[in-house]
Assembly symmetry: C2
């Protein structure tokens, strides 16, 4: 089952040449989940050949412009491109008011349903469960209400060992029971134990998206063992005071967070425009957590650790 | 005096690869006037090395997203980049409500003054006069209230003929009067006629920006002899019905409008995403008005006809 994330934007606050503000898109079992949607996100999707029509869910961490100003344009393009299927948007409550006001003055009635599901920036909660994943909020400590998002794959059913199934001529109606762990009793009364007929599916993977936040044990305590952690790393640690003032983190803190939450891999992003090159940020995070990579526009990370 | 326009976006409705929705920036005597501000305008300005800090005025034609969704991001970046000087925004009245709502929820108080001057989409009016230009609204006929903008350079003072001034040792305090047309009486009583001391400045140029509209005599009647006309040309004329339904124009109509208003040059833009290449649109407009060019991202047109 596909479980990967493509970076659409890696800059904080303002775009700079080559870097767009925050957005990323998860592909989970061939469904797309957009996470944050800064200005220019739809242009980035065109650039990296990601079809907006395939997005089923959008998650907005908070209402600073560098995380959501591309949303109304994207909704409008989906409308103009003939979308009919429901879109679910998980977001802070005021976002609906903002979207509605802009649609009102453009006299646009979207020709597809949009369902808003409001996040709570104080109390964690599961906001989505479908056949593939659970998505849980991660309350963060930013200047305005802000949450991260934790995506946990569901445990999949066991896989049939095709050769054994064919050899024993097991009828198709039995397959689901076998995948769920049942033994098989053949017409002659022989019992075939389940573990001779199936293998376990892959262990479920997980992905935590830690958006803008002051560094704190509160959110790291919630993320317990994660395959991949995306963590903002706005500054180098020599600007720790500035990070604290603005409720952001440093690359060093992102590395520490990855250690604490027992991450398989760390991806850092949300870089301040002051950093023309990113090597120092990477080095700093890697000094604590070696398996770190940079969020780079267009790069896809398979969540596999 | 500089009088030129740089195209930042040439597509209608949705961005497509290589084309961004509408925005353009006028440079008038080294002050920047931004006209419409679609999503991604600030990224386009970075790309073409146009400094947002130099923008003094922003003009928004109407509240369809492809003409203004980049505004809040731009205002926010100006704030983060330390702008202090006043910004004047000429726009339909509801835009202030939209901007205020987004600033409220991001808990942002801009550290520079923004002055909103509301346009009236029914009655034409001069909305700006400064030392360089008059700007007048052009009421258009679109699905929602929409105006174009007519920029007319002011007639400049006459230019002194430097050699004559030096030869006669005319003192500096006389210069302004001479530029305004006065004769000069020398200490010996000789009268030097103004036309021996000065030459006329260049004829004032003008630029009309015709945003989204149904083709109509109403607006062409208002634009009387213009150095350069920008006119939307969303469709080819074989889609005239669709143009009429959606209150847009065709490339043929743009050419006709340029004839009617006695334009020196025509630039067409706001191309539908259905046109992957633009040659046919250009050919169609040129069949009526030969001095036509395509709006192309990054291209600068000197307004000189």
């Amino acid at each position: 089952m596909k479980f990967e994330v493509t970076i659409l934007g890696s800059s904080s606050a303002t775009p700079i040449f080559n870097r767009n503000p925050t957005a990323q898109v998860l592909n989970i079992n061939d469904k797309l989940y957009l996470v944050d949607c800064a200005e220019g996100t739809q242009q980035q999707m065109l650039r990296f050949d990601i079809k907006a029509s395939r997005i089923e869910y959008i998650f907005i961490s908070h209402l600073h412009g560098d995380h959501y100003l591309g949303l109304v344009g994207l909704l409008s393009s989906m409308h103009l491109n003939g979308r009919k299927k429901t879109l679910k948007i998980f977001c802070p409550p005021p976002l609906k008011e903002i979207v509605d006001l802009q649609l009102k003055y453009s006299e646009t009635t979207l020709n597809y349903p949009v369902e808003f599901i409001f996040t709570d920036a104080v109390t964690r909660g599961i906001i989505l469960e479908n056949q593939d994943v659970f998505v849980e909020t991660i309350p963060l400590d930013h200047r305005i209400p802000c949450t991260g998002f934790l995506f946990r794959q569901k445990k999949r059913l066991k896989k049939l060992i095709k050769e054994r199934i064919e050899e024993l001529h097991i009828p198709i109606p039995y397959y689901t029971a076998l995948k769920r762990g049942a033994d098989y009793e053949a017409p002659d009364g022989t019992i075939h134990k389940n573990n001779t007929l199936t293998i376990e599916s892959d262990e479920p993977k997980s992905y935590a998206y830690v958006s803008d936040t002051l560094y704190s044990d509160k959110y790291t305590g919630q993320i317990n063992s994660v395959s991949m952690l995306y963590h903002e790393a706005t500054f180098l640690n020599d600007m720790l005071d500035r990070a604290n003032q603005t409720h952001h983190t440093t690359a060093l803190q992102a590395g520490e967070a990855a250690m604490k939450v027992n991450a398989g891999k760390l991806v850092i992003g949300h870089f301040s425009a002051r950093y023309k090159t990113l090597n120092e940020l990477l080095d700093e995070a890697q000094s604590v957590f070696p398996n770190t990579e940079l969020a780079v526009e267009g790069k896809t990370f398979v969540i596999s650790e």
